[in-house]
Amino acid sequence: MGLNHLFNLWSFKKPTSWIFLFLLCLQVIATAQPAKNPTYTLSEGEMLISIPNGCDSSLVDSLIIHYNLQDIGIKEGYQTGNWTKARQLGWVVKEVKKSMILKKSLSELSGLDELKMFLMLTSQQGEINPGYPVMIGPLGVNNFKKSELQPKFINDSLCVFQLSGFTQAEHVFISGSFNNWSTINLPLSKTNTGWDIELKIKPGKHLYKFIVDGKWMEDPNNSQWESDGFNGKNSVYYHSNVLFKIPGYLNAKKVILAGNFNDWNERELRMKLNGDAWELPVYLEDGTYGYKFIVDGTWYHDTANPNSVSDGSGGLNSIITLGKPHLFRLPGYENAGQVRLAGDFNAWNPDELNLSKVDGGWELPYVLKPGNYTYKYIVDNSWILDPSNPQTTSDNNGIVNSFVTIGANFRFVLKDHLDKKEVKLAGDFTNWEASALTMKREELGWSIQVYLSPGKHLYKYIIDGTWVTDPQNPLWEENEVGTGNSVIWQIP
């Protein structure tokens, strides 16, 4: 538009017009040149970094960060003209057509062996424990299309999974987080209408699939699933540990369970009439929860549950506690004004957990889900180790904290060695802290119980200061110091 306008305004017969046009063309040509951006390319078998003189230093910074070129000294060279560092690293530096050009032959790249070592050692760790379920919130409820085909709950540790149809299939397996996703160790049996299998299972969240004649398949009767990370679905099953139940109200249209486990949601958890009571089986993580029933819009507490607290509106909230509280106890310190507890379980918040004064010390019963935890007491304003707990571990900064295992699921036993003074256990689960876990001397040897998360774990015993692999465990692997570490696979 602008150019057309100018052409109309000026007569080309005037020499001044031609001069103006010439200048204008120069301007257009100048502005039409490619942007002066620094580049990093491959050319003629060489890596080539091109930095135009006078280009914006922020563009140079972006190039350096984007391609990870920090070590070459580009910024320093660009600012000071000193390219020594780049030259020391084998780059040829020349100024060509108002640009600094850095070239290096690709033949300087590492060989395949080194490349692969690199890829191995730097590959991301996010995929450790693939397929192990993660709870989002403390509550899990199943959602099956046909209730008669959902896994049959037998008891806390047993249920029957079913797959309807597929009667022409030769083999059907179930594979999930409960069997480390084995594709061959849980075959289903054929029934008149399909397939089933009785499984030992723990309360909690489980992911699974069926395998019908070699083909993976999510449970067609289960509406609840998560992505398997490969364009497929893992079905989700919660093996319940609590049955909420309210008898009567047989003429009610809608009965809802609400509690602090679901932010008192008034619509989410619909109960089902079963005989003479409304029921809902759920999985709840360890913890203390308040809840109520809503029968056709009216809120009721659970009269069958003697534990309740005021709801603040003249009514009651029923209370349910899951998991056994661990008693944090600090003996002595009777003159202290305040004793508090902080640990990795509450993000080391010092203002949250107060111990109560009791005879001979201070106490706080506190429910934690299974795991290994570190903590300290805060006596008035001093952070101290738990004097009655010999187990300690240090964090990445070398700070020593007390160490406690809740819900231990594995017992390490070292037979014999009773002539030794001290046996300790170190492993990936204690950050390889040598002084972490002191084993208990028993009649036939030494032992300690810890919690191990699902997956692979490495460990060693330290017998009077000497690191040894577990003589009773045939599985061990080489380590980076040329000795070995014992290996355990913990099944979820």
Binding site: Y40, G45, K116, S123, P130, G455, G482
Partner: protein, 327 residues
């Protein structure tokens, strides 16, 4: 996951040699191939009744895992055409009797200490097993720790030589066909199972590598298929025309042992053709393959890994040396 942070398996054979734990000395790869040949172990013969077997695979990153039973040990093997034969993780096979240099073949590197063994039975599926399979034993502990799954070894090329495999990676499935002496499927095929519209491409088994002709920017190149490679690799010495199709995305420094740092590049290959089939925008790592080329006496230009295998339906007949690609 960025293609750059992926692992190629042939390297594992080197990475996990005992020398790694002694400080990343990579000069003595554990599994060497003799120049001009593949595995010097006899090719194991697939046994069992099934002519067609569907195998549910699992994946750790871009590794393809098959759960198998080897004698009494159950665990996952990585499908790895980059490995010449069965390779076992030392953690689980430590007590197997070792023999070394018996074959006098040069397969075993690492100073001649015996690291070969023989397993009695390798069961892949109810209808497919092998008997008396020779194997190398190497430490693979770092790999399974990194991947979080129990990996008992690598299912290498010589186990595949009498089979055809159809890759259905999207569905998490491999279909294995038994072959007759002529290399034809022994299964009586339904019309649906016939290759149909698949195009047949001649591939070559040379020095234990599955070589495929590939074209990049009108340059004819030779790549090999490595099912154990988590990314594709392009030789850094390829021509300028080839690199015109590569968009660099990142450079990373690698510290070797006592050597100066070396560079590793990753990027995207905008277009590649395998016999007219186009592959657009594939992850690629650029590496110097000279060491590999010297061992194989071959002009290898690169390696095709998981991102190639997962791009479209394909099958490999290892006996006939044919690659089948579907549109």
């Amino acid at each position: 996951m960025q293609g750059f942070f992926r692992l190629t398996i042939l390297g594992l054979l080197v990475i996990f040699s005992g020398s790694l734990v002694a400080g990343f000395d990579l000069n003595s790869p554990l599994v060497k191939r003799k120049k001009g040949r593949g595995s010097d172990f006899p090719d194991p013969i697939p046994q069992g009744e099934s002519a067609k077997i569907s195998i549910p695979i699992k994946r750790a990153g871009n590794l393809i895992l098959m759960e198998v039973q080897i004698d009494s040990i159950v665990g996952n093997l990585i499908l790895d055409t980059g490995a010449p034969h069965l390779v076992l993780n030392k953690t689980y096979f430590r007590n197997y009797p070792l023999y070394g240099n018996v074959m006098a073949s040069g397969i075993t590197g690492g100073g001649g200490a015996g690291n070969q063994t023989r397993v009695s039975r390798l069961v892949v599926a109810p209808g497919l097993y092998y008997s008396d399979v020779d194997a190398d034993i190497v430490p693979l502990g770092h790999l399974e720790s990194r991947k979080g799954v129990k990996i008992i070894g690598l299912f290498g090329l010589n186990l595949l030589k009498r089979l055809e495999i159809e890759f259905h990676l999207d569905e998490g499935e491999l279909i294995i066909y038994r072959l007759s002496r002529s290399g034809a499927r022994t299964q009586v095929e339904t019309a649906e199972e016939k290759l149909g519209k698949a195009k047949t491409i001649r591939i070559f088994l040379e020095n234990g590598l599955l070589l495929v002709p590939v074209t990049i920017n009108e340059k004819r190149l030779r790549f090999y298929i490595d099912t154990g490679a988590e990314t594709n690799i392009l030789h850094s010495g390829s021509s300028k025309k080839v690199f015109e199709k590569v968009q660099l995305s990142r450079r990373t420094m690698l510290s070797g042992t006592g050597k100066e740092q070396a560079e590793v590049l990753s990027g995207e290959l905008s277009e590649m053709f395998v016999d007219g089939h186009s592959y657009i925008n594939m992850d690629v790592t650029i590496a110097n393959l000279n060491s590999l080329r010297s061992v194989y006496d071959s002009s290898i230009d690169g390696m095709l890994g998981y991102s190639f295998l997962s791009r479209r339906k394909l099958a490999i007949n290892f006996m006939k040396g044919e690659l089948y690609l579907w549109d």
